[in-house]
Symmetry: C2
Subunit: 108 residues, 2 copies
DNA sequence: ATATATGTTCGTAACTTTGCGAACAAGAAA
DNA sequence: TTTCTTGTTCGCAAAGTTACGAACATATAT
């Protein structure tokens, strides 16, 4: 009898993917990656949504571990969490490769 | 004045990510990738959820373009949509690389 | 003490997601 | 025709997401 529960790995990939599952959050991540300064205000300015909503999206990215924040009163500086970023990257690469799906094993 | 709308690329990455944002759907994709046969029943057997729910998840993956189905009465055969899979893979790779985030540009 | 600047949190509304069992559909078999 | 098998769709409930403005928090400047 096989175990039907999801693996930790599956949960982790899904968790990262879910955090990336909104265009605003993708935009935030891309913006953070190319900036030397990364204050909340800069991020907000870049997006077509209210600051309360931006804050909410940032919280989700932080909860997923993809970014981190640092208070520099009166501003807040955000940036990619590079450790977890590498983990996510590796998980996704592995995932896409494991699902390489040989020609013969697929419906045409 | 900068354009604050999301790019097509951002929307597309988010769309794929969202489809992958649930452990059941990750499990389905991984299962499909390693099977030569891939009937609905096999997938359902592998998961801890009711068939109605499995069907729903499969529909979402299909809508996102990550899988495709084919009726083989009375069964339904599912598989990875390899064309879109390659597109998704490329988008994610590009995304993770573009967000490489040089040491100097991040808060420590 | 008040005012200003910057973000977060609260409260709320509308919508979406996840999950289930029951009902349905479609073809094969009895 | 009736029954069986296989999946999908329906209807519903519970929970989560997305978005906003208003209120709040905190530290600095006046």
């Amino acid at each position: 009898m096989t175990n039907k529960d999801y693996t930790v790995r599956q949960e982790q990939v899904a968790r990262f993917a879910k955090a990336m599952g909104h265009p605003a959050r993708i935009a935030i991540l891309q913006f953070l990656a190319k900036q030397t300064t990364c204050y909340f205000g800069d991020i907000h300015e870049e997006l077509p949504i209210a600051k309360a909503t931006v804050s909410q999206h940032l919280k989700e990215l932080k909860d997923a571990g993809l970014i981190q924040g640092e208070v520099e009163t009166p501003k807040v500086k955000y940036c990619i969490n590079r450790d977890n970023w590498q983990i996510a990257k590796a998980l996704f690469c592995e995932f896409f490769d494991s699902c390489a799906c040989k020609k013969e094993s697929c419906c045409k």
